[in-house]
Each structure stands twice: as C-alpha cells, then as structure tokens.
C-alpha cells in the first residue's frame, strides 16, 4: 500500500523540469498566505487567487510565503517566476515523494523535509512533504495540506515574542526546521508507547498477534529512519555553515536542531534493537509453553501406562492365572499398579533433573 506507492517512478520519460504534480492530493484547493515583517512591523495577507497575488508588492524587510496544496502547477509556475526558481526545484516541490535534501542554487537554498504522523488506531505512519526555499530576505514553504505545525511560529511573529522578528529570514528558516524536527519527537513518543504496549503484552499475555504488531512496528520504524537519516545530513551541512544563507549568529541554533535529529536516530536504533529482542522473547515463550504441555503429557502417560498394562494382564482370559482366585488378588494388583506409577514418577523426575 503506502510502501508500493512510494517506490513509484517519477515521471517515466518526461523531460526533467516538467511541472506535473506526483503524489496523492490532500487539499481541495491551494491556499496561499503571505507574512511580511521587520523588527517594528508585520503584515499578513491571504490570496484568493494567483491573479490577486500577482498584483501585490511586498515592501517590508523579510517575507514568508506559505502554500498549502500542491496540485495546481500554475500556482507553482507563477511563484517560480516571481522568485526566479530553477525548474528542478519546482518539479521537486510538486513531486511529493522526495528524499530530504538541501541544495544550494546560489540565489537561494532549497530544503526538502517530511512531516510524520503516527495513526495509533491503524498502527501506520503517514507523511507529508514540506519544501522550504530560503533566499536573502524571503522564505517560501510548500506543504501538501494544513497541519498546524507552523502556527506557533506565526503566533510568535505576530506577538513579537523572542528575537524572531528582528533576526531576518535565516532565523525564520531555522524556526521552521526546528518545528519540523519537533514533530519527530511526538512520533517517537507514540512509537515508544506502542513499543511499551507490546512489551507489556509480551510479558503478561503473549498471543500470536503480537508478532504481527512487532512486524508492523518494525516497518514503521524503518520508514521513519529512512526519512530522518538524510534530514540529519541536511541539518548537519547547514549547521557546519556550508551555506552563506545562515548568518553565524544563527548557527548555534542549527546545532541544536542537529542534536535533536541525532537524538531521534539513536532512539530509533534503540527501538529496533529492543524489538529484535522482543521477538526472541516471544519465540522462547512459545517454546516454554510447548515444554509445559509436553511435560504434562509425559507425566500422565508415564504414570498411567504401566498401571494400564498390569490391568490388561489380569484381564487376559487364560484358564490358569496366578492370583486370580486369591481373595486379595485384586488388592495385590492395585498395589502393584500404584507401585509401578510411583517408580515411574521417581525415575522420570530424576531423569529430568540430570
């Protein structure tokens, strides 16, 4: 399902740079919002149409344009024209199955990342692509649908909290990256809880279903890891100051984001390791149960079979049989049976103790 969709090829022979949306459509119609600001002022604008946006001329120092919904190529084309974006960037924005990466196009930096959601009910991970373009004095963000993850940043901008308004486009870009990585912690927490739930089940009431749950969980962890790993590289190259778009003042903040991505990866590795161990525990629990059952069977069979044999012997129809006419023959037979059962039990237990 999700997996096979992800593996699908891009465009199969189309010219690179063609503006075609590839991926699921998650938003009815694109929504374009613009926030422009400088230390002492902030203006917000929501555009109903491309035409409307075309007439607008921003005048403040820094500009943040956000687009929800990527399936209308003409919107992209217009934005690409205005901000002078490379055709490959536009194509990558529209193709929502990209791997996280950062690319420096000289006039701007293009960053691709992913948002993840863990659906506790279906035990599956969903993800949205988020593209970010950072120029000298603008930030563009492109999302597949409204997720609300950037709302706190908008709030901070409006309320002029912290240094965000004074610090320009690169600090804004950092804030957005930080919000993205923060989402991973939420997913980590949910996966961690799912792991613990299975662990509990395993310790107290292991059922065959637990195996499938472990398999699903492992698959999701692998998928998440595949997305975070390149993101780590992205943030690492940014925090090393490889690109001129982030001012030295912003670098310590990026280092912080980098630490978080490393933490996420290490936690995922640990989870994977624990899941492998849990599978072993399940398998040995099954073995232990088998042992218990076989032992029960063995105990019953070894104690009763000798007695049954004795009974059968005295049930034979020979004319002449010892004890058969004795008044205590029956009692002697019973006693022999008991003795046989007793000896077998003894032998059996001593044998297993060895």
């Amino acid at each position: 399902m999700q997996k096979s969709r992800k593996l699908r090829s891009r465009k199969s022979g189309m010219a690179p740079g063609s503006l075609v949306h590839v991926g699921e459509i998650k938003t009815e119609r694109p929504e374009i919002t613009l926030i422009e600001f400088q230390a002492d002022e902030l203006r917000e604008k929501r555009f109903a149409s491309i035409a409307e946006s075309r007439r607008y001329e921003p005048s403040l120092e820094t500009l943040w344009l956000n687009v929800y919904g990527l399936h209308e190529p003409e919107v992209m084309a217009e934005i690409g024209r205005r901000f002078n974006l490379h055709p490959l960037v536009l194509e990558d924005i529209l193709n929502t199955d990209q791997r996280p990466k950062v690319e420096d196009y000289g006039d701007y930096l293009y960053v691709v990342a992913r948002f993840f959601d863990y659906d506790v009910a279906t035990k599956t991970l969903g993800s949205d692509q988020i593209s970010l373009v950072l120029g000298r004095n603008f930030v563009l963000t492109f999302q597949e649908r409204r997720t609300g993850s950037f709302d706190p940043i908008r709030e901070r901008l409006r309320a002029d909290k912290g240094q965000i308004r004074k610090s320009g486009a690169d600090y804004l870009a950092y804030s957005l990256l930080d919000a993205i990585v923060d989402r991973y912690f939420l997913v980590l927490e949910q996966l961690g809880e799912a792991t613990e739930r299975i662990e509990d089940q395993l310790m107290h009431n292991p059922k065959p279903r637990v195996l499938q749950d472990l398999h699903l969980l492992k698959r999701e962890i692998l998928a998440l890891r595949r997305a975070v790993w390149p993101l780590r590289e992205v943030v690492n190259s940014l925090q090393r100051g490889d690109s001129a778009f982030f001012k030295p003042d912003t670098l310590p903040y990026l280092r912080d984001v980098y630490d978080h991505t490393v933490y996420v990866i290490e936690s995922l590795e640990s989870m994977r390791d624990l899941i492998a161990g849990m599978l072993d525990i399940y398998l040995s629990t099954v073995s232990n149960r088998l042992n218990a059952e076989v032992r029960a069977l063995t105990v019953v069979a070894t104690t009763l079979l000798p007695a049954a044999l004795i009974a059968s012997i005295f049930g034979m129809n020979f004319k002449e049989m010892p004890l058969i006419d004795s008044p205590i023959g029956f009692q002697i037979a019973l006693a022999t049976m008991l003795a046989a059962a007793g000896i077998m039990t003894l032998v059996f237990w001593r044998r297993l103790r060895r």
Copy 2:
C-alpha cells in the same frame, strides 16, 4: 544458473584489449542508429552495415550513436577507430558482465551501467549491460538488445521538447542516465509488490513454500543491490563535478539522479530487513501450530487415559472384586471415570496457566 554464469572469469589468459564478446547473445544482428542534432536541426540515420556507416560524415553539433547487439567485434573495432577509444574500453563494452563504473580517459568518459528486469512469473531478475561513452560533442551507447528505455528521449529530441536539443552532449548523457535509474524504480516496485504478496500469504495462510519464495526474493535483492551500489558511486563522482565533461549547468540534474540511486539503495536495505523479519514470523507461526497440535494431543490423552485405566481395572478377571456384583457398579465406575477426567482437565489447565 544465472549466478554461476556471472562469476565466470573474463578471458582466461587472453591479452587485455582483445576484442572478444563474452556473455549471452541476445540480439540477432547488431543495429546501429545515429542521431545528430543542434538547437535548430535533427537528422536520424540507421546503418545497414559497417561499410555504409564508414562513408557517413556527421555535420551537426552533437551526435548520438546507439548500438544494439554486441557480438560482432568488427563493428566495435570500427567505432573504436572512429572515436579513438582505448582498447580496454572496447573490451569492457563487449564483456557484458561488467560492474557499473566510470572511467575518465581524457578525451571521453566511459560509463558502464545495468538495466534490470524482474520476471514476475519465474521470480528472477535479468539484466543487460549498457555502456555509455561521453565525448565533448558525442554520446555513444551500447546495449545488448533493444529494450525501449531510451525511446522517450528520442521522442523528446525529435519533438524538440524541453532543453534537450539546446544543451549538448552532457545533458543528453544525463538524460540517458536518468532513464536508466528510472528503470530501477520499476523493478523496485515489482520487488515491493512481491514482498507484499509474500507478507499477505504469511499473515493469512503460511505454507512451507513461502520460505523458498523468501529465499529467492532475498537473492534477487542482493543481486540488485550489488549492481546499484557501484552505480551510486558512479553518479556521485559525476555530480561532484569530478569530470570536466559535465558542464556546471548540468550538475544539479545529476544531483537529482544521485538522489534517486540513494533512494533505491535505502529501499533495498529496508526490504532486506523486512524479509529477515518475515522469516522469523514464519518460523514462529510454525512453532505456534506445533504448540496447538501438541496441546490437542495432551488434552485428549490426559482426559482419556485415567478413564481407560479405570475401565481396564474393572476388566480384570479376579474372582473377587469389589463392586463387581453391585447393581450400580457399572454406574459408579463410569462416574469415577468422569471425575478422573474432570480432575485431570483442571490440573492440566492450571498447570499451563502458571
């Protein structure tokens, strides 16, 4: 089969540079096509023989010569002479079991890659070698047989779509590499579907056959990985701009191809990991079944054996036996049997609950 063929040694003591075709012949006779083009013009030519091609003089800016079928050394020798190719290059083109690699010979760049096909019916991977030589103003491609993978590029050239005609030989080479990597996505998708099919079977109706399917799938994934890994290195060295044959304008496009190869490798690793997990699931499903069977046996044996013993006891032929003459003796015996079975069931279940 396929594997052992692949491992065969090259020429066993022949001088390097000898023009001998090594590998399966997949095309009846070589087919040579030439496309020469510049921004405003394009000419196509199909040669019936080497002699014919010898008389042809290309005159446009960029030239693309494609050969299907590699088993006629004289064709290779002529092309080698015309484009001044190193004997080792010619030998590598003819030896169709090469590892993907890139080599810079000063006047041209030699790239080896592989096309893969997954045959869903036989569950095996087949592959063709594709050699590409990129000079200042020409591209040569050599394929074992006609696969149709480059047809969209020919279409784009003819229709003058995108920038392909204007951008010279290096952009054409990029387009071809892109088409090659695109094929991997197709194979990935098919392998992914095969994985999911086995997964489904495993969850709902696991049979011993599933093991062999997993083994085959794993083998194909390993083979594919062995081919993509060096290809990744090839594309990586190209996109870093190590070679002067790709103009700076083309590098971002190569970076894109590189991203795709990385994605392919990561997907293969994930599949391998999932397959390992699936094997564990199969094994534990088998264990669970064993448990269920042993439990059934144990339940039956432990409840019936005591009753059978009692019946045998009253079947003994002693002259004097208690109850034997009582009118309700039979009923008492039956009741005792039931009681014994009940007690055993109780003990047995309590024991397993522990």
Copy 3:
C-alpha cells in the same frame, strides 16, 4: 516509563531560549556554593538566596560555582547575566534531557554530560544531567541534585593536594570530567555483576524469568551506550585540543579521560554481545529439556505399548483361542510381552544412535 519520558519533545512551539525547566524536579530548593581559589588561598561560600549572591564580589584567580536543583529559572537568569551566557546555554541547562555535547561559545565552553545510577533492586538505570561551563578563569557546574561525586575534588582543593589549586580553571574542569567518567565505571561494574548473576542462573538453574532479566539488562545497556557514545566524542574533541580553553599541559590528562570513555564503550559492546549469546544458551537449554521429556515419553510408550497389545489380544473373548487353556499360557504371554519390550528398546536405541 523512563523511556517515554525521555523522548518527550522540548517545548512544543516555544521560542528557543525561553527559560523553562523541563524534566523531573529532584531537589527541593536550589543550593548555590562558590569556591574561589589560587595557589596559596581558598575561600568557600554558600548562598542562601540570589540576592545574597548578587552582592558578593569574588577576588581570587579561579572561581567554581556549583548549583544543585535547576527548577528556579530566576537563579539561572541571574547567573546567565553575570557570566554573560547565551540564552541557548541557559535553556539547555534547564532542559535536563540533553544529549552529551560540547559547544564553544567563544568566551566559554559549554559541556553537557550525564551521571548514571544503577538501582540493583529494581534493575533500572537512573540518570542526572550535569552541565559544565568553562571560562578563562571560572567553572560553573549545574546538577539536578546533590550526588556527592564532586566531594573528593572539593577535598583536594581544600587540602591543597596535588596540583589542582595551582593549575587553574581548565585543570579543575578536567578533574570534574574525570569524576563524571569515573562514575560510569561504577555503573559498568554493577551491570557486569548483574550479567554474571544471570549467567550463573542460566548455567545452573535456568527459569523463564531469566529472559525478562536479560531483556531489561539489554535495555539499560543500550540506554547507557546512547549516553556514553556522544560523551566520547565530547572528550575526544577536547583532548585533540580543538578548544583554546584547555592549556597544552592539561591535554595529556584529557587523553586519559578519553581512554576511559573508550574503555566504557568497548565494555558495553562486549556485554551486549555476551547477552545475545546468553539468550541463545537459554533457548537451547529449553530445547534440551524438551528433548529429555519427549525421550522419556517415547521410551515408556514404545516399551509398554507392545506388551499392552499382547495383553489385550489374550483378553479377547473368542471361544477358541490358542494357549488359552494351556497351564503355562499365562507365562508364555508374559514372556512374549517382555521379549517385545526388549526388542522395542533395542530398536529404539539403535535408531537414535544413527
């Protein structure tokens, strides 16, 4: 439990640099102690309140300020103001779920590390964050609670033992790092003992519980390793002399600390490897037991069943049966039974020997 707490996100949309304590509160009220010293003098001071500390002016060469309890942001704010600390440093000090790291802020070096405690009774690891700020002539340490690990260093300072008083802030910082890494050896020892205890149990009296103990131990080892790994990198970058805060004379000492962290990591890896092996041993012990039980059952069944069949045969009620009227019929029947049992035993053992 502990795990899910650790994975929790930092502040969910708060501006970076906000002074909010994140984590468990382990100390009732912060406690601030100051030691200032130079080669020939030492002064100690314990502050009851921030106000009091504000009036104090240190005058000796080197200053060590230690804070226990991090949940009062105003304390942090005042210290940050006095020592001119970056807002991110203050935030990291207060957020006690940091990964070990070192950051050079030009005027000072910021180091985060962790103290670990292994609770033998509950078999769980607990940990405290310890932050260290090293300036030209001061060291600041921030701990979640009083652990006593730095007391020997205080003693050495007071008693003027070794070179600690003469060697300035960087040597003090080294001594503190050394004390931190020394704690890991204690935990290692405890984990090593726990491993040996389980090993013993496994060899002499393996019970299903052992599996859960192994799982818990593995989890704690993974957690510890996740903390030591980055610490190793921290100490490595310090001992290489990357930072100007450590004088060349102090570097050999740091190399020593580095050796210790490497040793800790290698020991953890070995433990992990041994634990994996122990699980295998447990599983095969279980299998061996199963074998013993099945063998007991098989022996009993194969020797008794033929005899029982013979008895049943002579228990049939046919009018005419051979031997039935013979005076030694019973003896012959018994002898046949014994012979059958003997043959079965023979066949059975020869079969298993094959």
Copy 4:
C-alpha cells in the same frame, strides 16, 4: 588442520631477516627460469643450479625471473644479493603464510598475493603464496610450486601478442596480477556451484549432513575473504598511482584489476548472506517435518483413544451392565466408537484452523 597451521607464529624469537623457510614444502627442488625480452627479441633460460645462474649476464631491456619452490635459502640469498633485496623481503618470501600486501622499498616494489584452489572432493580450499618484486626493468616472481597460471603470459611473450613485449616491466607485473585475480574467479565459480548444489539439496531433500556442508562452505568463504580483502587494498593503492613503478599508461589496466577484486569481495559477501539464509531454511524444514509427525501422532491418538475407551468400558466385568445382553449391543458400541472418532476429528481440525 589447515587453520591451525596458518595461525602458527613466525619464528619464535629469531632475529628478523633470518632466512628460514616457514611453511609446507610443496616442490621437490627449486626451479629457476629467466625470460629477458625487449620489443624485438626474447631469450629464455632455465638454470640447473645457483652456480650456473651466477655466471649468466642478462642483456635485454626487461627481465622476468621466476622461482618455483622456496625451501632452499641459499637460492634466495643469491637472488637477494643480485637484486639488492631487503632482508625482510627475503624473509617474507620464504615465510609462506603472509597476508597480501604491497611495500615500496624505493628501488623496487614488493607485492605478496595468494593463489587459491578449491578441492571439490574434500570441499576444502588450499592456497599458495606468490611473491612479486617489481623493479625499474625487472620482475621477480616466487611461487611455492608450479601451478601453470602464468603460462598464458609466457605464451603471449613468446608469440609477441598484444603490447606485452613493448610495454616493459610494469605492464608485465600488471599481467601477472591480472592472472592472479583471474584465478579467484575460478574459485568463486566453484564455490558458487557448491552453494547451488547445497541449495538444491536443501530444497528437495534436506538431510542433517547439509548443515556440516554449509559450515564447511562458510569457513572456506571466510578464509577466501580474509585473503582477498587485503589484496583489494594492495591493488587499490597501485591503481591510484601511489607508486612510481607503474607508468601512467598502465594505470587504467590496474583499475580493471581493482574492479575485479571488488567484484570478488561483493560476490563472497552475497554468498555468505545466502548461506545464512539457507541455514534458516534448513532449520525451518526440520521444524515443518516435526510438525507433520506430531500431527500424525495427534490425529491417530485423538481418533482412536475415545473408541478404545468405549471398548474398555464394555469389557468391564460388572454383573449388570446396560446393553450387554441386547442383541444389538455390539453394534451400538461400534457405532458410538465411530461417532466419537468423528467428533474428535472435527474438533481437532477446527481447533487447528483457528
């Protein structure tokens, strides 16, 4: 056997540089052959004794001296004196348990490699050491015994095929290295076939012996890998042009050899991976058989035991028993038995289906 011999220490306290042969003697008496050549001429000479060789003065441009059999130190000493070899080189040549390596001694390059043979009958790998010394205008090769691997090169020299006569000592050295690596392909192929043979056996007729075969195969693959890995490094350092002994013209050829060693290593890794998977398949085949057997037992026991109980009940000797006097009593009893068996079968199958 082979393994323990290999691990033996070199000389136990002897001075380094002592000329003592360490290893098995595989040739009766050393055999020394000399080929000297230049573009237009070639002379061959076989020396019966060291004395004879001492009198010989080579006069052509390039010289190739080959020695089979290394157990006569005086031969080595004389050659060492003539070509001015370092004592350590002579010692390494004589000690035939060396790891592949390359060492640059200024006046010449010393290369150690290994030839492998897979004995299909005993399923074991044997190996010979081959030492190669490359000077400005000479090549020396030292082998433990005659293997015939270099014969095609001798043929090419004599027939003046390809560029070998014109290209000097470094090209000759390359040709020899190429021949060595070519041998690995042969061994790879044999191991690959052995793997496939076991695979076939596993799929169609798995027997316990298969396990030991897998273990042996794995051991040989590990041994081969241990030898090829350093060889890859050797060839890599040569093809990078680290040494001045190989002219730039020869480097592309070395790159080719390097590609082959990489290919060998990757194939070995894949085989190892497949072998691990095959073990899992074997184990689960064993489990499946166990399941089939236990199921047979369970089916028989559960269907027959209830019937047997009923029969025993009517075999009791109570004076008064229901049905016992009825003319259709026997038929009713039989019918009840059949019904019981039917019910048990039903219950049993429904249970397993769950």
Copy 5:
C-alpha cells in the same frame, strides 16, 4: 571474576598522578635488571635495591632497564625521577588495567600493551600489562611478573646476533613489540585448537556442555579482541612514522608488526563468526534428535494403537458378538490387526514424504 575485576574504577577520587599500585600483585618483590650496550660492547647488571641502582652510572650508548613487579611505588618514583617521566606515565604503569595505547611526551614515547596466556585447563585467558618507555637512547620495560617472553631478545643482544646491537634504542623497542605480538599468535593457536576441539565434538558427539564451552570461548575471544584492537592502532600510528623516536630504517620492521596485529584481529573475527555458526549447528542437531524421537513415538503409536483397539473391541462382554464363536475368529481378528497396522504405516510414510 576476571571481568568484574577489570571494570573496577581507577582510584575513586584520588588526585591523578598519585603513585598507588592498582591490580593483583603477581611477583613477590620487584626485580630490576639493566642491559647497556653499543655495537662492540654489552654490560648486564641486576640491582638488589633501589639504593644500589642509584649509585650506578651507565656509560654505553643504549640502555635497557627492565622491572618485574610493580607494587613498590618507591621504585617507580626513583625511576621516574631518573628518566624524568610524567606523573601520569608512572600512574599508568602502576595501574595494571590499562588499555593498550601510545603517548608521545616529547622526550620519550610511552607504550602500554598486554601479554595474554590461555589456560587450556580452565579455558580462561589471563593477561599481564607491559609498559614500554622509549627515549632517544634508552628503553624501559615494566612487567607484572617474569614471563620469559623477552629472553630471546636478551640472548640476541648477548650473542650480538643480527643487527640488534648496532641499531639503537628504537630497534630494540621494535624487537620487544614484535615479541609481544608474537605471543598473541601463540594464544590464537590455542584458541584455534579449542575451537576445533569443540567443532569435532559438535560433529560427532554433541552434548549440552558444548554450549557452555562455546560461550566461554566467545567471551575469551571478545576479551582478546578488545585488547588487540587498540594495540593495532598503536602499532599503526608508530609504523606511519608519526613519532620521531623511530628512525626511517626501523619503519619497515614496524610495518611487519602491524601486519601481524591485523592478522590477529582478522583471525579473531573469523573465529567469532565460526562460533556463531557452531551454535546454530548445535541447535539444529538438537532439533534433529527431537525429530528422530518423535518419529519413533509416532511410528510405534500409529501402528500399535489400531491393533489395540481391535483387541479391545473383541474383549467386550456383549452376549452376542460376531465371530466370537467362530473357530477361526481369533485368527481373523489377528489378521485384521496386522492389516490395520500395515495400512497405518503406509499412510504415515506417504504423509511424511509429501
């Protein structure tokens, strides 16, 4: 035991550089021997006391001081004073649980390594620390006890064999390192033999004890590997010529030692791999036995139970039963039993063949 001792922390809060012996005392009283030599002369001296050594003035070019037994700090202090050693070096010499390392203190090089002994009887590894200090014209060695490993070097010095007397302190240091690494080969050989012994046992007569032996062996291999790994790095950094204490002439010899350490590590890795495989073989051997036993049980039960049922049926006490009065009733019953057993055997075998 050994393991937990090793993990113990160094000094728990003591000032670094304190001269306290940490570790087991293995020698009654320290023994100090001095060898001074130059190309044409050699003098040996054994000191009864520190006082005596204090009066001695060496006068030849190179000096080698060896100390057995490290528990008398005053000896160390005196040597440290004479050769001007850093307090940390003295501390490390006395603390006999160091990791192998090399440290350059400007005036001398400090090397720590370990000697290993494998006790075949107890199947455990013991180890001694050996410290080596190399100055311009002196070598100091410190050992926990007399092991005799350096005796051949003393012999060579006395007999003036090889170049050892002429080559100065660095060549002597190389000879000592070589002797140390040579010891590892001995241990490798013993471990290799232990592995083969277990392998043999496994193939011919697998017993549960084999598991514990494998576990012990694995533990020792891990311990050895942990010691050789850093030693490899030590020798590698020396052979690269990082330090000025080794003259260029000596470097090729160090390269030789480096090759040996690499060889040791690779052999250990292979052993580990083989041990993992051996565990799998043991487990599947156990499974195979289980199968054989269950099969025996199944065969007996399935062939005898139907017969027993038939016998029970004819043992019922109904008044009217078919065949019961027939003179060949008994024979018919027996024939039916045989037929039933035959059919069951047939069905059973066909079932397992599927």
